[in-house]
Symmetry: C2
Amino acid sequence: MATRTRNTDRRDDALSKERIVEAAVAMLDEAGESGLTFRALSARLQTGPGAIYWHVANKDELLAAATNAALTSGMTAEAAAGPPKDVIRAIALIMFDAIDEHPWLGEQLSRGPWQGVTLQICERIGQQIQAMGVPAGLQFTSASALMIYILGAARQNAANARMHPPGTDRAEVLETHAAAWRGLDPEQFPFLHDIAGQLRDHDDRAQFLDGVNLILAGVGDL
Amino acid sequence: MATRTRNTDRRDDALSKERIVEAAVAMLDEAGESGLTFRALSARLQTGPGAIYWHVANKDELLAAATNAALTSGMTAEAAAGPPKDVIRAIALIMFDAIDEHPWLGEQLSRGPWQGVTLQICERIGQQIQAMGVPAGLQFTSASALMIYILGAARQNAANARMHPPGTDRAEVLETHAAAWRGLDPEQFPFLHDIAGQLRDHDDRAQFLDGVNLILAGVGDL
DNA sequence: CCTATCTTGGAACGCCGTTCCAGACATGTC
DNA sequence: GACATGTCTGGAACGGCGTTCCAAGATAGG
């Protein structure tokens, strides 16, 4: 592994795990998860697939490294002060925005177990849960419920965004979707038929925050 | 497509979309998502890959059909009566158990948009939300928060289960995991360090239900 | 300068989803 | 019965994937 000998004078086009991960993040942003292949990556870095494998064990490790890199870069400064619930809301929005910017993050974060940056986020949310005075026996449940909702909602949002070419008009897509719900049989689908209007007018980010508040309200009640 | 001519006397080893989907579900249950390939599937059905493509458009359609089949078979009878919150809890547990039984369902359900069986579940939850007297403007938010949590939690549970061979001892796995959390730096990870014990002792299904109750508590408060 | 180690990159392997197509099969018509 | 027709089968083949292998180039120490 490239543990030592990193500050010596190498040729300046030398590979490194950082350069590889950086290129991987760029390719994921440009072409999504299916756009990242070792062949395309090695072409971008002007090398062969074998060279990459000297720095990275396999694609899973590459994806994990790209995930940590992308999330960490978005988590630099943070509103650490304020009431616990506000801090949680801020963390949630940071994650939502990060996944909105890098849609492939949604798939990746909710795949494996919580580790790396995800673990740090879990920790920060847990600290705020404790600061709220939630009884010890319910802290784990509360924190994981928040984590699951945040990851699930951001992921759902990313999945929705991924289904349309980047250029399409959001209002038009929503109207089409809402029309489909409104067209459902009112006898069999009264609820979906009713709220089709809310689907058309809703704002993803605001609704995400409403969901976080919903859970926070439940946590505060315990 | 095989639309008509289904009741005529064909040879009894004839392919059909039902037989294909049934075999696909079995393979997914046995070997997970990566275990379902058109080659293995055609070998199991004693035919070639090309024959399958006459009944199924592509792998996405096959996965969607398998998802609907597996979820529908688990949703036969249902406790439709009782207070709305009880009905929601019952639906949530049915989904949790279904995904627990077919771990690949977790990945699949949260991939695409809500359609098929997922749409029906959304409808049922929405009806209960309405029955709870939630204001019209908040019904969409409440229902989607519940859906996201249910899908996210069940999916997370399935991902955890998928990481260990079927035979491994659950208590041992949890103990190892808890030990890792307990070994974290108490200065940097006070929360995770503290609740490692709860991680070791927790019951996935009970904690899932606690999370649902958390959200229901918040919804009732609005 | 020579040698041992680190690093590269292209060829090759086995597998995947998918397409193509020759032909088996059941059926309706004379 | 012969034949034409549309339905259905299954094996070969295509391009691309993750990954492995290894000969050769680059670099550092004696």
